[in-house]
């Protein structure tokens, strides 16, 4: 009985401790955001790394998802004479859910892992210690620029992903399913509401913050050697993906619960 309780209690305590550490880390990041110095060059580099260089993967993911979504809705809708709702459902599905979530997960895979591996390697090779000896706070130099860049660029990526996803659905619907181009576009525009777009962008900002913060946290708290770097990278992506999906659930509830 005690062993069973211990078996449950130990991981629960470990999870709570990890949540506490991440919360403290987030608080420290916030504190450094509002206090100088601010490293503009590192921020610009992070903007390019996280935003610009993620565009191809985000675009392709959204394009194929939008196309597949149109096919699925058409096939499913045909069963009860509702095939005409393809433009509306593609639009709402992409903008409210699939766009932000898929972009968030792609960013977790591409950016979180890369940040975690880079910072963990810097830690293992004493580059973080070197930063300190050069009078440069690692949180300010490494974490703040990346987290700010994530908060700013991921909503843009989500916006681009939404548009490309809708475009993918449009292409499939018009070219393969016999939809009229003008009607499809009109239905898409008419059906989307400002709240849908706002929720999408807010989710993007939240997911961008989570993805970059988890990358930085895992990198900074990595263990020694190659194994430590590998573990930090793996755990950063796992944590970011789970937190993004949990945040998506909460934000969907906040925006759309009746």
């Amino acid at each position: 009985m005690w062993r069973l309780l211990g078996g449950i209690g130990a991981p629960v305590l470990a999870i709570l401790a990890a949540i506490g550490r991440v919360t403290i880390f987030a608080g420290q990041t916030l504190r450094h955001v509002v206090r100088p110095p601010f490293y503009g060059r590192e921020f610009m580099t992070a903007l390019a790394q996280i935003g610009w260089l993620s565009l191809p993967v985000v675009g392709l993911t959204a394009l194929f998802t939008g196309g597949a979504l149109a096919l699925q809705i058409y096939a499913g809708g045909s069963r009860f004479d509702a095939a005409a709702v393809v433009p509306q459902i593609v639009a709402i599905g992409m903008v409210r859910e699939l766009g932000p979530v898929l972009v968030g997960l792609m960013i977790a895979a591409r950016v979180t892992s890369s940040i975690a591996a880079e910072i963990a390697t810097m830690k293992v090779t004493e580059q973080i210690d070197a930063l300190v000896t050069l009078s440069t706070h690692p949180m300010k130099y490494l974490t703040v620029p990346r987290v700010l860049a994530g908060l700013i660029t991921v909503p843009f990526l989500v916006g681009v992903g939404d548009i490309i996803g809708i475009f993918g659905g449009y292409q499939v619907a018009v070219r393969s399913l016999g939809f009229n181009s003008a009607t499809y576009l009109q239905n898409t525009v008419d059906f989307l509401e400002p709240l849908d777009i706002v929720s999408s962008l807010v989710k993007g900002a939240a997911f961008g913050g989570i993805a970059t913060l988890m990358g930085c946290y895992s990198g900074m708290s990595s263990g020694r050697g190659a194994q430590g770097v590998g573990q930090a990278t793996k755990s950063s992506v796992e944590a970011a993906a789970v937190l993004i999906l949990a945040a998506n659930f909460i934000l969907t509830g906040v925006f759309f619960s009746v």
Partner: protein, 248 residues
């Protein structure tokens, strides 16, 4: 100038420093020797606040290390790390001029680059190295770049963490000579940790041996060979037999 007073540090059950007490006089080159895992790096990093001692005190010019303006405190130090610790994403000259491009010592970019190239020249590297990335350099060149970075802002105190580890004997000799020349030229206080006896003889004014978490012996380098201390004797002659257990 740097004074350790009964400094203790443990990592879990591993008691690394058990009351280290040592004076490092201003303008002298102190080399701390000792086996692997005896706490030499911890002793060095404790001064800079990279490691926080559990007990005891470290004074720099009579004031507790790190007290007051931390940036101003750190600006007095330069450090050469064991593996170089060069920033992979920055070209060599930006590594060297890192401190000169940010914070209180910030200079115009072109001036920082000129200083970096001059420091690279001082450590025997040609200006064409300046725009390369650290990964494109050999181990010896990386050490030199690390050395150039350590002296770029002309610090009063320079730390050298295992400066010759991983280098061939000739390159190790070159680095030792460079360190000695630079320390004398700058009039800096130097603290080096190593277990390479050729480094000790080339760099040191004074030597301290760390063993069992305490300073076992300290004195001028000239006295090292006839100290009468069996631990130091065993260490400097590299004997497997003696009071220091070979397997720790």
């Amino acid at each position: 100038m740097i004074r350790y007073i009964d400094v203790h540090k443990s990592f879990g059950s591993n008691h690394v420093l058990r009351g280290m007490t040592l004076d490092v006089p201003r303008g002298e080159s102190m080399v701390i020797i000792g086996g692997s895992g005896t706490g030499k790096s911890v002793a060095l990093k404790s001064v800079l606040g990279l490691v926080t001692p559990d007990a005891g005190q470290i004074l720099v010019d009579g004031r507790p290390a790190g007290a007051g303006d931390r940036d101003a405190f750190l600006a007095r130090f330069g450090m050469l790390f064991q593996g170089g610790a060069l920033f992979d994403s920055l070209p060599v000259w930006q590594n060297v001029a890192f401190r000169l491009m940010r914070g209180a010592l910030k200079r115009p970019r072109s001036e920082a680059r000129d200083i970096a190239i001059e420091k690279l020249r001082r450590v025997g590297l040609t200006p064409d190295v300046a725009d390369r990335l650290p990964a494109e350099l050999s181990g010896g060149m990386q050490k030199r770049v690390g050395l150039a970075r350590a002296i770029a802002a002309e610090p009063e105190i320079i730390f050298f963490d295992e400066p010759t580890t991983g280098l061939d004997p000739i390159m190790a000799g070159v680095i030792n000579d460079l360190i000695r020349e630079i320390v004398v030229e700058m009039g800096a206080t130097a603290m080096t940790i190593t277990h390479d006896m050729s480094s000790v003889r080339a760099i040191a004014d004074r030597v301290a041996m760390l063993h069992g978490g305490k300073i076992r012996w300290a004195g001028p380098v000239a006295d090292m060979d006839h100290s009468g201390d069996p631990y130091l004797d065993q260490f400097i002659h590299g004997r497997a037999e003696g009071p220091i257990e070979a397997v720790r």
